[in-house]
Protein backbone atom coordinates (compact mmCIF):
# COMPACT_ATOMS: atom_id res chain seq x y z
CA UNK A 1 0.00 0.00 0.00
CA UNK A 2 1.44 3.38 -0.96
CA UNK A 3 1.08 6.59 1.02
CA UNK A 4 -1.06 9.30 -0.55
CA UNK A 5 0.73 12.12 1.32
CA UNK A 6 3.10 13.96 -1.00
CA UNK A 7 6.55 14.64 0.45
CA UNK A 8 7.48 18.23 1.32
CA UNK A 9 9.10 19.78 -1.76
CA UNK A 10 12.82 20.42 -1.38
CA UNK A 11 14.08 24.00 -1.75
CA UNK A 12 17.29 25.98 -1.41
CA UNK A 13 16.83 28.54 1.41
CA UNK A 14 17.76 31.94 -0.06
CA UNK A 15 19.82 32.61 -3.15
CA UNK A 16 22.06 29.74 -4.37
CA UNK A 17 24.88 32.30 -4.86
CA UNK A 18 24.94 32.87 -1.11
CA UNK A 19 25.38 29.13 -0.57
CA UNK A 20 28.35 29.13 -2.97
CA UNK A 21 29.82 31.98 -0.92
CA UNK A 22 29.12 30.13 2.38
CA UNK A 23 30.92 26.99 1.16
CA UNK A 24 33.82 29.08 -0.17
CA UNK A 25 34.15 30.90 3.16
CA UNK A 26 33.89 27.63 5.08
CA UNK A 27 36.82 26.15 3.13
CA UNK A 28 38.89 29.34 3.51
CA UNK A 29 38.41 29.10 7.28
CA UNK A 30 39.28 25.38 7.16
CA UNK A 31 42.65 26.46 5.73
CA UNK A 32 43.16 29.00 8.56
CA UNK A 33 42.15 26.40 11.16
CA UNK A 34 44.49 23.78 9.70
CA UNK A 35 47.55 26.04 9.83
CA UNK A 36 46.63 26.97 13.42
CA UNK A 37 46.13 23.35 14.55
CA UNK A 38 49.45 22.20 13.03
CA UNK A 39 51.37 25.14 14.57
CA UNK A 40 49.66 24.52 17.90
CA UNK A 41 50.37 20.78 17.97
CA UNK A 42 54.06 21.42 17.18
CA UNK A 43 54.47 23.66 20.22
CA UNK A 44 51.69 22.60 22.62
CA UNK A 45 53.27 23.84 25.84
CA UNK A 46 53.65 27.42 24.60
CA UNK A 47 50.15 27.51 23.07
CA UNK A 48 48.53 26.07 26.22
CA UNK A 49 50.36 28.53 28.48
CA UNK A 50 48.95 31.42 26.43
CA UNK A 51 45.53 29.80 26.02
CA UNK A 52 45.30 29.71 29.84
CA UNK A 53 45.27 33.54 29.72
CA UNK A 54 41.89 33.47 27.94
CA UNK A 55 38.67 33.37 29.95
CA UNK A 56 36.83 30.22 28.85
CA UNK A 57 33.54 31.52 30.24
CA UNK A 58 33.77 34.59 27.95
CA UNK A 59 34.23 32.26 24.96
CA UNK A 60 31.25 30.16 26.07
CA UNK A 61 29.12 33.28 26.61
CA UNK A 62 30.04 34.49 23.10
CA UNK A 63 29.00 31.10 21.72
CA UNK A 64 25.66 31.19 23.55
CA UNK A 65 25.04 34.72 22.22
CA UNK A 66 25.62 33.66 18.61
CA UNK A 67 23.67 30.39 18.96
CA UNK A 68 20.74 32.40 20.33
CA UNK A 69 21.08 34.90 17.48
CA UNK A 70 20.99 31.99 14.99
CA UNK A 71 17.82 30.71 16.66
CA UNK A 72 16.16 34.12 16.45
CA UNK A 73 17.07 34.60 12.79
CA UNK A 74 15.71 31.10 12.01
CA UNK A 75 12.47 32.15 13.76
CA UNK A 76 12.53 35.34 11.68
CA UNK A 77 12.67 33.33 8.44
CA UNK A 78 9.84 31.05 9.54
CA UNK A 79 7.63 33.97 10.68
CA UNK A 80 8.20 35.82 7.37
CA UNK A 81 7.36 32.64 5.46
CA UNK A 82 4.03 32.50 7.30
CA UNK A 83 3.32 36.18 6.65
CA UNK A 84 3.83 37.23 10.31
CA UNK A 85 6.01 40.20 9.41
CA UNK A 86 5.79 41.91 12.82
CA UNK A 87 7.13 38.74 14.51
CA UNK A 88 9.77 38.37 11.79
CA UNK A 89 10.94 41.99 12.32
CA UNK A 90 11.07 41.50 16.10
CA UNK A 91 13.22 38.37 15.68
CA UNK A 92 15.53 40.12 13.20
CA UNK A 93 15.95 43.00 15.69
CA UNK A 94 16.69 40.49 18.49
CA UNK A 95 19.37 38.97 16.27
CA UNK A 96 20.93 42.43 15.84
CA UNK A 97 20.89 42.92 19.62
CA UNK A 98 22.74 39.62 20.20
CA UNK A 99 25.21 40.56 17.45
CA UNK A 100 25.90 43.90 19.15
CA UNK A 101 26.32 42.10 22.49
CA UNK A 102 28.87 39.80 20.87
CA UNK A 103 30.80 42.74 19.38
CA UNK A 104 30.91 44.61 22.70
CA UNK A 105 32.03 41.46 24.52
CA UNK A 106 34.82 40.88 21.99
CA UNK A 107 36.09 44.46 22.19
CA UNK A 108 36.13 44.24 26.01
CA UNK A 109 38.05 40.94 25.82
CA UNK A 110 40.60 42.40 23.39
CA UNK A 111 41.01 45.55 25.51
CA UNK A 112 41.52 43.42 28.63
CA UNK A 113 44.13 41.21 26.96
CA UNK A 114 46.02 44.18 25.50
CA UNK A 115 45.97 45.92 28.91
CA UNK A 116 47.45 42.73 30.41
CA UNK A 117 50.26 42.92 27.85
CA UNK A 118 49.04 40.25 25.40
CA UNK A 119 49.13 41.65 21.87
CA UNK A 120 49.33 40.36 18.28
CA UNK A 121 53.11 40.02 18.59
CA UNK A 122 53.30 38.47 22.08
CA UNK A 123 53.61 34.91 20.73
CA UNK A 124 52.22 32.58 18.06
CA UNK A 125 49.06 31.75 20.02
CA UNK A 126 48.08 35.40 20.43
CA UNK A 127 48.85 36.12 16.75
CA UNK A 128 46.34 33.40 15.80
CA UNK A 129 43.91 34.54 18.52
CA UNK A 130 43.83 38.15 17.27
CA UNK A 131 43.80 37.09 13.61
CA UNK A 132 40.97 34.53 13.89
CA UNK A 133 38.79 36.61 16.23
CA UNK A 134 39.57 39.74 14.16
CA UNK A 135 38.62 38.24 10.80
CA UNK A 136 35.48 36.79 12.41
CA UNK A 137 34.69 40.22 13.92
CA UNK A 138 34.76 41.64 10.38
CA UNK A 139 32.23 38.98 9.31
CA UNK A 140 29.98 39.97 12.25
CA UNK A 141 30.14 43.63 11.16
CA UNK A 142 29.13 42.66 7.61
CA UNK A 143 26.41 40.49 9.18
CA UNK A 144 25.03 43.53 11.00
CA UNK A 145 24.65 45.32 7.65
CA UNK A 146 23.00 42.22 6.17
CA UNK A 147 20.56 42.00 9.11
CA UNK A 148 19.77 45.72 8.73
CA UNK A 149 18.85 45.02 5.08
CA UNK A 150 16.56 42.18 6.25
CA UNK A 151 14.82 44.51 8.74
CA UNK A 152 14.35 47.15 6.02
CA UNK A 153 12.81 44.53 3.71
CA UNK A 154 10.49 43.23 6.41
CA UNK A 155 9.25 46.67 7.48
CA UNK A 156 8.32 47.84 3.99
CA UNK A 157 5.45 45.87 2.34
CA UNK A 158 6.61 47.09 -1.08
CA UNK A 159 10.10 45.62 -0.64
CA UNK A 160 9.38 42.29 1.09
CA UNK A 161 11.21 39.36 -0.47
CA UNK A 162 11.27 36.00 1.29
CA UNK A 163 14.30 34.97 -0.76
CA UNK A 164 16.27 37.99 0.41
CA UNK A 165 15.35 37.41 4.08
CA UNK A 166 16.48 33.77 3.75
CA UNK A 167 19.72 34.87 2.04
CA UNK A 168 20.47 37.31 4.90
CA UNK A 169 19.73 34.55 7.46
CA UNK A 170 22.03 32.10 5.65
CA UNK A 171 24.89 34.61 5.90
CA UNK A 172 24.18 35.16 9.60
CA UNK A 173 24.20 31.43 10.40
CA UNK A 174 27.63 31.27 8.73
CA UNK A 175 28.93 33.86 11.19
CA UNK A 176 27.56 31.60 13.95
CA UNK A 177 29.01 28.28 12.81
CA UNK A 178 32.44 29.78 12.11
CA UNK A 179 32.49 31.06 15.70
CA UNK A 180 31.50 27.59 17.00
CA UNK A 181 34.73 26.29 15.40
CA UNK A 182 36.84 29.22 16.66
CA UNK A 183 35.54 28.71 20.22
CA UNK A 184 36.53 25.02 20.15
CA UNK A 185 39.99 25.66 18.67
CA UNK A 186 41.05 28.73 20.68
CA UNK A 187 39.33 28.20 24.04
CA UNK A 188 38.56 24.48 24.54
CA UNK A 189 41.22 22.42 22.74
CA UNK A 190 44.16 21.01 24.70
Amino acid sequence: MTSTASPQPRFVPGQPDMWAFVLFEAFVFTAYFTVYVISRARDLEVFLASQAQLDLSVGALNTLMLLTSSWSVARCVQAAREGSFAAATTNACLTILFALGFLVSKVVEWATKIAQGFTFTTDEFFSYYFFLTGIHFLHVLIGLLVLAVAVRELRDPARRSQELVETCATYWHTVDFLWVMIFALLYVMR
Partner: protein, 98 residues
Protein backbone atom coordinates in the same frame (compact mmCIF):
# COMPACT_ATOMS: atom_id res chain seq x y z
CA UNK B 1 4.24 30.50 13.92
CA UNK B 2 3.98 26.77 13.14
CA UNK B 3 4.06 25.24 16.66
CA UNK B 4 5.85 22.05 15.59
CA UNK B 5 8.60 23.93 13.76
CA UNK B 6 8.84 26.37 16.67
CA UNK B 7 9.36 23.51 19.14
CA UNK B 8 11.96 21.89 16.91
CA UNK B 9 13.98 25.13 16.63
CA UNK B 10 13.80 25.59 20.42
CA UNK B 11 14.96 21.99 21.00
CA UNK B 12 17.93 22.49 18.64
CA UNK B 13 18.91 25.73 20.37
CA UNK B 14 18.61 24.04 23.77
CA UNK B 15 20.76 21.11 22.61
CA UNK B 16 23.45 23.37 21.13
CA UNK B 17 23.52 25.50 24.29
CA UNK B 18 23.71 22.44 26.54
CA UNK B 19 26.69 21.09 24.55
CA UNK B 20 28.39 24.50 24.91
CA UNK B 21 27.92 24.35 28.69
CA UNK B 22 29.39 20.83 28.73
CA UNK B 23 32.40 22.20 26.78
CA UNK B 24 32.70 24.92 29.42
CA UNK B 25 32.64 22.27 32.15
CA UNK B 26 35.20 20.03 30.45
CA UNK B 27 37.48 23.00 29.75
CA UNK B 28 37.35 24.01 33.42
CA UNK B 29 38.16 20.56 34.87
CA UNK B 30 41.77 21.31 35.82
CA UNK B 31 41.40 25.08 36.22
CA UNK B 32 42.93 27.56 33.79
CA UNK B 33 46.28 28.06 35.51
CA UNK B 34 48.07 25.06 34.11
CA UNK B 35 46.44 23.61 31.02
CA UNK B 36 47.88 20.19 30.25
CA UNK B 37 48.12 18.70 26.76
CA UNK B 38 45.29 16.22 26.26
CA UNK B 39 44.80 14.53 22.90
CA UNK B 40 41.36 13.19 23.89
CA UNK B 41 40.05 16.68 24.74
CA UNK B 42 41.65 18.08 21.56
CA UNK B 43 40.02 15.46 19.33
CA UNK B 44 36.66 15.65 21.09
CA UNK B 45 36.68 19.48 20.90
CA UNK B 46 37.01 19.24 17.10
CA UNK B 47 34.40 16.46 16.80
CA UNK B 48 31.86 18.20 19.07
CA UNK B 49 32.30 21.53 17.25
CA UNK B 50 31.70 19.84 13.89
CA UNK B 51 28.63 18.05 15.28
CA UNK B 52 27.26 21.46 16.38
CA UNK B 53 28.01 22.95 12.96
CA UNK B 54 26.19 20.09 11.23
CA UNK B 55 23.15 20.70 13.47
CA UNK B 56 23.24 24.40 12.52
CA UNK B 57 23.46 23.46 8.83
CA UNK B 58 20.61 20.96 8.93
CA UNK B 59 18.20 22.63 11.34
CA UNK B 60 18.78 26.41 11.48
CA UNK B 61 19.94 26.70 7.85
CA UNK B 62 17.25 24.23 6.72
CA UNK B 63 19.60 21.99 4.77
CA UNK B 64 17.43 19.00 5.72
CA UNK B 65 14.73 20.46 3.43
CA UNK B 66 17.21 21.45 0.71
CA UNK B 67 18.11 19.47 -2.42
CA UNK B 68 20.25 16.42 -1.62
CA UNK B 69 23.31 18.01 -3.30
CA UNK B 70 23.42 20.84 -0.75
CA UNK B 71 23.21 18.32 2.11
CA UNK B 72 26.07 16.35 0.60
CA UNK B 73 28.22 19.45 0.08
CA UNK B 74 27.77 20.63 3.67
CA UNK B 75 28.43 17.09 4.97
CA UNK B 76 31.53 16.97 2.78
CA UNK B 77 32.80 20.14 4.46
CA UNK B 78 32.15 18.67 7.91
CA UNK B 79 33.94 15.39 7.12
CA UNK B 80 36.87 16.98 5.25
CA UNK B 81 37.40 19.64 7.92
CA UNK B 82 37.32 16.98 10.65
CA UNK B 83 39.80 14.77 8.81
CA UNK B 84 42.14 17.67 7.96
CA UNK B 85 42.11 19.12 11.49
CA UNK B 86 42.65 15.76 13.20
CA UNK B 87 45.33 14.89 10.64
CA UNK B 88 46.93 18.31 11.17
CA UNK B 89 46.97 17.77 14.93
CA UNK B 90 48.61 14.37 14.46
CA UNK B 91 51.14 15.75 11.96
CA UNK B 92 51.95 18.67 14.28
CA UNK B 93 52.61 16.40 17.27
CA UNK B 94 54.75 14.09 15.09
CA UNK B 95 56.95 17.02 14.03
CA UNK B 96 56.85 18.79 17.39
CA UNK B 97 59.37 21.49 18.28
CA UNK B 98 62.12 20.00 20.47
Amino acid sequence: MNARFEKRLAAVWLGLSAITLVQLGVGSIDGRDGLAPNAAIAASAIAIALFKVRLIFREFMEVRHAPVLLGRLTDLWVVLTGAILLGGYLAGTTFAVD
